[in-house]
C-alpha cells in the first residue's frame, strides 16, 4: 500500500462513486415521478405529461383515499399481514426448533418436505385451493387469504430459523435440562429470545411479501370491504377510462408505509439479512 497505490485508489473510487450515483438516480427518479404525476390532474396529464402542474392537486389524495376506500384496504392488509406474521413466526419457529434442535430420525426428511415448498409457484395451487376454499366459503374472507399466505411463508421461515437454532450453543440447553426446565419452556425462554434477529428478518420478509401479494388477493376477494391494498389499486381502472393521477396518488399511499418502515429499520434489515444469509 504505497503512495502510488493510494493515488490509483482515489481515481477508481471516484469512478465507483459516479457509477453508484447514476444508478441511485435510476432508482429514485421513477419513485419521485410517481409523486409528481399524482399531483397533476388527468387533463393536463394528457396534454403535457412532463410540464410542472399549475397547481398541486392534493385532492387527488383525498379522492383516492375515500373513493378507493384505501383506509379499509390498508386495515385489511394490516390485519392479514399481521396475523400471518405472528402465526408464521410461531408455527414456523416451532417446526424449525424441532428440526434444528430436537433429535429424531425424520427431521432431515421433514426439512426437505418443507423446503420443496420454496420451489412451488403459487400458481400451481391457485385453482385447487380456490375451488376448495370457495366451497368452504373461505374466499371473500380474510381467513381465506391468511391460510395460504401463512403456508407459503413457512418454508423460508423454517429455513432461516433452523439455521439460527442450530447455531445456538449446546450448553444452554444442557443447563436448562439440568435445571429441570421443560422442553417447551426452553423453546419459549431460551431459543426464541436468543434468535430475535432471525425472527425479525423472517418476520419482515414475510410481512413485505404478503403486503405486496397481488394474485391470490385478486382471485380470492371480490367484496369491496375485504380488498387488500394491491387489489385496490386497480379500482381506478374503469371500463372505458382510467384515472391516472388518482391511481398514482393511490400508489403513493400504498407504498409510503413500506418506505417508512424500510427507512426506520433499513439497517436492522440489512444486518439481519446478513446474519440470516450467513447462517442459512
Amino acid at each position: 500500500m504505497n503512495k502510488a497505490g493510494k493515488g490509483k485508489w482515489k481515481v477508481s473510487t471516484t469512478i465507483i462513486y459516479i457509477l453508484l450515483s447514476v444508478l441511485a438516480v435510476v432508482y429514485l427518479l421513477p419513485l419521485l415521478w410517481v409523486i409528481y404525476v399524482s399531483l397533476k390532474d388527468d387533463k393536463t396529464l394528457f396534454v403535457s405529461p412532463w410540464a410542472m402542474p399549475e397547481h398541486l392537486m392534493f385532492e387527488n389524495y383525498s379522492f383516492a383515499w375515500t373513493a378507493g376506500r384505501l383506509g379499509v384496504a390498508t386495515l385489511n392488509s394490516a390485519i392479514v399481514c399481521g396475523v400471518t406474521l405472528i402465526l408464521c413466526l410461531l408455527v414456523g419457529s416451532m417446526a424449525a426448533f424441532a428440526i434444528g434442535r430436537l433429535k429424531w430420525k425424520l427431521s432431515g426428511a421433514m426439512m426437505t418436505y418443507f423446503l420443496t415448498g420454496m420451489m412451488i409457484p403459487v400458481h400451481c395451487i391457485l385453482i385447487p385451493v380456490f375451488t376448495r376454499f370457495s366451497r368452504m366459503h373461505l374466499t371473500n374472507s380474510l381467513t381465506g387469504l391468511i391460510l395460504p399466505y401463512l403456508t407459503l411463508s413457512l418454508p423460508i421461515t423454517i429455513f432461516i430459523m433452523t439455521g439460527f437454532f442450530q447455531s445456538l450453543p449446546n450448553e444452554l440447553f444442557e443447563s436448562a435440562c439440568i435445571d429441570g426446565c421443560s422442553i417447551y419452556r426452553s423453546f419459549t425462554h431460551i431459543a426464541l429470545p436468543l434468535s430475535r434477529t432471525g425472527l425479525f428478518v423472517t418476520g419482515l420478509m414475510t410481512f413485505v411479501a404478503n403486503w405486496n401479494e397481488l394474485l391470490l388477493a385478486m382471485v380470492f376477494i371480490s367484496e369491496d370491504s375485504k380488498k387488500t391494498l394491491p387489489v385496490s389499486l386497480s379500482k381506478f381502472v374503469g371500463p372505458y377510462n382510467t384515472n391516472y393521477s388518482q391511481m398514482f396518488a393511490a400508489i403513493v399511499i400504498a407504498i409510503i408505509p413500506t418506505i417508512i418502515v424500510y427507512c426506520m429499520f433499513s439497517n436492522q434489515i440489512v444486518d439481519g439479512l446478513t446474519a440470516g444469509a450467513v447462517k442459512g
Partner: protein
Amino acid sequence: MKKRMLSVLISTAMIASVLAGCGGGGDTSAPAPAADEGASQDTAAAETETQAPAAGGDVEEITWMFWDDLNATEDLISIGYRDTVERFNKDYEGKYHVNVVTTNLEEYYAKLNALVAAGETPDCFIVSPGPNLDVYVDPGIAADLTDYLKADGWIDTFNGGEGAFSQQTYDGKIYAVPLNIAAACVFYNTEMFEAAGISTMPTDWQGLLDACEKLQAAGYTPLTISAGTAWCLSMLAGYLCDSEGVDLAAIDSGSASWLDSNVVNATNKLVEISKYFQPTAAGDTNDVATANFYNEEAAMLIQGSWAIAQINGSNPDFESKCGVFAFPGTDGRVIAKSDSLAMSAKTTHPDAVIAFMKYFTDDTAQKYTAEVGGKIPVTTVEYDASKAPAQLAYVMDVFGSAKSTFGFYNESMATTEAGAFFDDTMVSIYLGTPVEEGLASLEDFYKNNVWNK
C-alpha cells in the same frame, strides 16, 4: 414409540389428504389448523363491522354484481348506476336492501363465474349480451324474466317493446333486461374537416380514404385509435368485416371460413387505413387515443357513444366542435352495445331483484342515461334534449336511421376467448404480421377450439 407417533401423524394427514383429493364435494379437509381459526374469526368479526350497516329485521338483502367501482369511478354511466342503487335503497328502506359487489371490467367475468361455481351467484348481475350471456343462459344460471316483464306492462315502457330484447331473447324467452344502448360511430372535429375542405361526410370506403388524405394534406392526423387496448382497433375491424359481408354466424357454424376473400378484403382495408393513424397508435391505450381527439390532435375517433361523457368532461369547449357520422360503407348497419341485467335463477328474493331492475329502467334513470350519460335510453322516456350532450342527438340520428344493428365483434363470437383471439389477431396484423398469416392463425384457433366442439 417415536415411530408410532410419527406414523400416526403422517397417516392421519395422508388419509385426510386422500379423502380431500378425491372427495369432490365433501369437505373432508375442513379440520384445518384449529390454532388460527380463532384468530381469523376475530378478524372476520372485526371485518363485518366495516361493512355497510345492514338494516335489521326482515329486510330482504340482495346482491348486485357490477364491473366498475361505484365510488372510485369517473364513468358517468357508473355514477348513474350508483345513484340508482342509492335511490332504491332509500325508497325501499326496511324492505329491500341491495349490496353491490364490484370488480373492474378485466376481472369481472372471472369473479362472477367464481361466485357461480361457489354456489353464491349474485342475485342480480350485469352482463353483455352475446357469448357472455350464453354462458349463463345455457346451464340455467340466469332466470327467465319474460313473465315479470309482461306481468304489469313493464315491457311496454321499452322503446320497441319486445323488439328491444332481441339480443337477450333465447327461444322466445327473455333472460336479461337492457339498460341503455351505445352505438359505435365516427366522431370528428368539425373545424379540422372545414379546414381540410371536406364539406360532405364520407358515405363509403373511398370517401373515408379521401377524407383521410385531405386531412393529412392539411397537416392533421386523420384518425386516432388505440391498438394498446385491443378492442378499440377490433371495433374498426368489425365494421370493415361487416361492410365486406362477413357472416359471423356462418363462421361459427363452420360454413364460412376466416380465409374467405371477404375477410381478407376487410383486413386489407384495415391495413390500408392504418397509415392514417396517429404514429403512437400501437402503444396508446384507449384513454390516450380518446384524449388525442378531444385535445384536438387528431380529426377522427371511432368509438362507442360512451366516449361522449369522457370527451365533454375532459374538454368542455370541445362539445361544440364535435360532430358524429355513421361509419361509412356499412349499408346502414351500426354496432350497438347494451349493458344488461340478469337475475340468478336461484335467487330467493326475485321480487326484490325485479323491483331493483325496474329502478334502472324508470324515467329518472333513463333520463339520466340520455342527459348525462350520453347513452341511448332503452325506454320511451321523454328527456330534455337541450340538457343532453350535443353529440347524443347526432348519435340518436345515426342510430335512428340505422337499418339494423350488430354487436361488437369480439362479443358476438362463439366464445369469449374467440373474441379475444380476433382482437389480438387484428392488433398483430396492424403491428406487421402479414394478413394471410394472421388470418390463418385465427382459422387454426377456430379449427381447434370452436368447430370441433
